[in-house]
Symmetry: C2
Subunit: 227 residues, 2 copies
DNA sequence: ACCTGAACACCGTTCAAGT
DNA sequence: ACCTGAACACCGTTCAAGT
């Protein structure tokens, strides 16, 4: 009886994982506008099962985001043991940009006002906590200016993520350049060094814009921004 | 006859402006999820009239965004005549953040992948063009490092906009601080100066997060972000 | 020419019926 | 307990009828 019960729960748990993985793959491919019907279909369950496991489509998205943020926290904890504290910090920041790129649609959803909950905030707080530890170590090492905090870094990194979204498919080195700029902003004035590469031109941006007329796929790779 | 024709067109034009203004006000108040039905109602026209003037809700949003960006371009052209080129540049950047805050929902919509068209790209290109002129003047003045371009600046500014969205209602000075950080990144290494204020703490962020349980209004002021 | 609102299409969510 | 898909609700968009 209790065995049957556990088996049923195992089934439910399997459905939950299937839904998470189907949603994840579909969101990466085509952005957040894939419908719940398709997610359920790819996961091989009925629509209702999706809503039994996740109260809403937002909740499904939130569950995936929390998994991703938690992975970043673990990575940060590993880097806390690295020998060069400044390198560890900037390694972490670089990887963070990479993670944001991989699941861009998801993180955009969370940045929008319509998706915030306590679990996400908790995961986010842990991530900022690890970043703050990495930052403090780097500041103790003397290479990073001591009048900044983890939130300053986080905000700067936002710009890097935007750069990555806009240009990564034109020239991936633009991300390194932007990370250099962040590093220049964070370094103690005396140690500032010149940036790698050259500034992207407006033509490169416009050229990289999605082609007009063609049916828009809604791919996360096709983005632009006004500001 | 042609007079009648012009009068009818004048009516149509008036409806168009009413729709733009109604949409603008509603979007500022409650974000982009206000329905077209309500916009049409507030504008005092039928739903169909909205779609006669704008091919879609996206087009309506785009039309407002273009007006806003064009205003920024005009402001930039005025600042090109200022006496202190570095001050003019950073004044422009600060105001740009302010504009983004005022119509945050609109610009977020454009940053999302689902709203891009040639007109917006054109307006954006003009804005980057003016920024580039301001930057070049500041670089000639010697205060701004010469290995960066307008796009670098734009990307850094993204982070400032995020900071403003997250913290402006807690402590507006955080925006000045973030602008200082941008200025530090852009200044020639020797002239870098210490930032104003202090880093925001994690507690301030969490405390500023939307209250749980309360019905979310969808207000643009209630935001958080994971990265 | 332009305006209107009923009707349609689409998609997130619910729930009665099934196992 | 859990699963399912038909039915519902909501909102962007269309279009036949009106002026």
């Amino acid at each position: 009886m209790s065995v049957e019960e556990r088996q049923l729960r195992a089934d439910a748990e399997r459905n939950r994982r299937r839904l998470l993985e189907a949603a994840q793959a579909l969101f990466r491919e085509r952005g957040l506008d894939v419908g719940v019907a398709e997610i359920a279909q790819v996961a091989g369950v009925g629509r209702g099962t999706l809503f039994r496991n996740f109260a809403s489509k937002e909740d499904l998205i939130a569950a995936i985001v929390i998994e991703r943020v938690q992975e970043a926290v673990l990575r940060g904890e590993t880097l806390l043991a690295a020998s060069d504290p400044a390198e560890a910090l900037f390694q972490f920041l670089g990887e963070l940009v990479g993670r944001q790129q991989l699941d861009r649609a998801l993180f955009e959803a969370v940045a929008d006002e319509w998706l915030v909950n306590d679990e996400i905030r908790g995961a986010h707080a842990r991530m900022v906590g690890v970043m703050d530890e990495l930052l403090t170590r780097a500041q103790s090492g003397g290479e990073v200016r001591d009048d900044i905090g983890a939130m300053d870094v986080l905000m700067l990194l936002k710009g890097t993520c935007e750069a990555a979204s806009a240009f990564a498919h034109v020239d991936a080195r633009i991300i390194d350049r932007q990370l250099d700029l962040v590093r220049a902003a964070l370094s103690v004035p005396a140690s500032a060094r010149r940036l790698r590469g050259r500034p992207p031109t407006l033509e490169e941006i416009e050229g990289a814009a999605p082609q007009t007329g063609a049916r828009r796929t809604g791919s996360a790779a096709e983005r632009s921004q006004v500001l």
